[in-house]
Symmetry: C2
Subunit: 288 residues, 2 copies
């Protein structure tokens, strides 16, 4: 089966390379063609628009930046829905809004097309090593058909229900991470000010009830002054904004997540550090 893939950024590139490695035939489109060179060199073919991708592939996957990019890629003039064949499947892997997932699914059904929302976690390393976690919502029959493809790019694939449920699960994931990131940042700010031996604090805390993945992975990087992105702060801020919009829509008040969003807003919008990794949050405390 020909697979169409739109969006060959860091994540998309890793995913497409794994699909090619698994023997799939992949046709790609990316807004900036130069950024597709790596997958083209590895055997993918090029299409000039999302529409052309959709004309050539019965399974179209997308991994772009923001919900507005998702909408443009699907519903724009030369978008996927302009080229899609009845009986096809579309899969949006962008972390985007549950509401947009519902809307795109309805539009897909108008074209006799099935749709999935399938955001991932695991970052660039997970994309490269095919160890992503894939959180899927949407048409169950489509999930069953696409599962073997997901398994070529991810380690843990789970179906969470109707359209938008994949995105909701990803939001739950990001809300949890907002807690670990703000916690580890303020822990480190405090421990530095108290003049503690920071590696020894890390060892002690990770042996008990304070242990968490973010601390174990990001504190050593911060202590080395390494703020390169495992995950871009600007993308994390996007995710927190979506999570809080959805929370509002469900009449939920999430004060700790709101506070985390304010902190990442300061980092990205006021300090201009959106291209740092999420661990760069600590810089905003040090510039007070």
């Amino acid at each position: 089966m020909q697979i169409g893939f739109i969006g060959t950024g860091v994540m998309g590139t890793g995913i497409v390379l794994n699909l090619l490695k698994a023997g799939q035939s992949v046709v790609v489109y990316n807004r900036t063609k130069a950024h597709a060179q790596k997958v083209l060199d590895a055997g993918a073919t090029w299409a000039d628009t999302p529409q052309v991708v959709a004309q050539q592939a019965p399974l179209v996957m997308t991994m772009v930046g923001y919900p507005s990019d998702v909408e443009a890629v699907y519903t724009g003039e030369n978008g996927i829905f302009a080229g899609i064949q009845a009986g096809s499947i579309v899969v949006d892997m962008t972390t985007s809004t549950p509401a947009l997932a519902v809307k795109l699914t309805a539009l897909a059904h108008d074209h006799d097309v099935q749709a999935l929302d399938a955001p991932v976690s695991g970052g660039d390393v997970g994309a490269q090593n095919a160890t992503l976690t894939v959180m899927v919502g949407g048409d169950r029959a489509a999930y069953d058909r696409v599962l073997p493809v997901f398994q070529q790019i991810g380690q843990r694939v789970n179906y969470f229900g109707t359209a938008g449920k994949g995105q909701h699960t990803k939001m739950a994931n990001q809300i949890m991470i907002a807690g670990t990131m703000t916690g580890l940042t303020e822990m480190l700010v405090y421990a530095k000010a108290a003049d503690l031996d920071l590696p020894q604090v890390l060892t002690t805390l990770s042996s008990g009830g304070a242990d968490n993945w973010s601390m174990d992975n990001y504190v050593p990087r911060i202590l080395k002054g390494d703020y390169t992105p495992g995950f871009f702060a600007k993308h994390f801020l996007k995710d927190l904004r979506i999570a809080l919009q959805e929370a509002d829509r469900m009449h939920l008040d999430l004060p700790a997540t709101k506070q985390a969003k304010l902190l990442y807003e300061a980092m990205v919008d006021d300090f201009g550090l959106g291209n740092d990794g999420t661990q760069g949050l600590i810089k905003t405390y040090e510039q007070d």
Copy 2:
């Protein structure tokens, strides 16, 4: 060596039982004598005041409730300093303020006594199983002498420096946990509202970057409606208040930890849930 132990609550009881099991001779005092019965039955002896404990033991350990209790036990009319012999060692294991640890150390030195602050993490289970993490500050020579005793009650024992550094490390630990607890609570509130399969969300999140000890341990309890305390919310609130007072003193602004304190304040003071475990925070969201 005779060991004096003041404070036979849940934590103190577990610790004293392990000292007795290790062959130590222990004399105890507790404000409510009935709560010492378990350790008396196991072989500890009773003293009527902290002063008498100090008269009988060259090593006096304390594990009481609040900093005000610590101060009373050491400096009160029938307190430790009224009975202590020169050359003795005092060890406060209560989670208390770094400033009080510094003050008690100075007072101890006036009596030719050495002092340690040695708060622990690991909860009642850690106290029972001798798997506590012990974070020690204070007189280095005293630490070297007491280390074999700490090793009878804890699994990981670390020296962090001068008086108060043990308490500062414990505060860093609690600041980190404030992040994981608020994060897991809001994650769960969101996931419930989005009607996700909660055990499946937990499995998915713990396989990736959102993983943390608090989520793995408390979410299953919350899903069973189990709010019994592994760690009392009222004690966690006390710790967050100390952490934020210390942060203020060091001219640090920790907005996420402040927000966590506000949430636990609502739980303990407004909802009267201080005797629940820290995982009971989610009840305050559900009662909105």
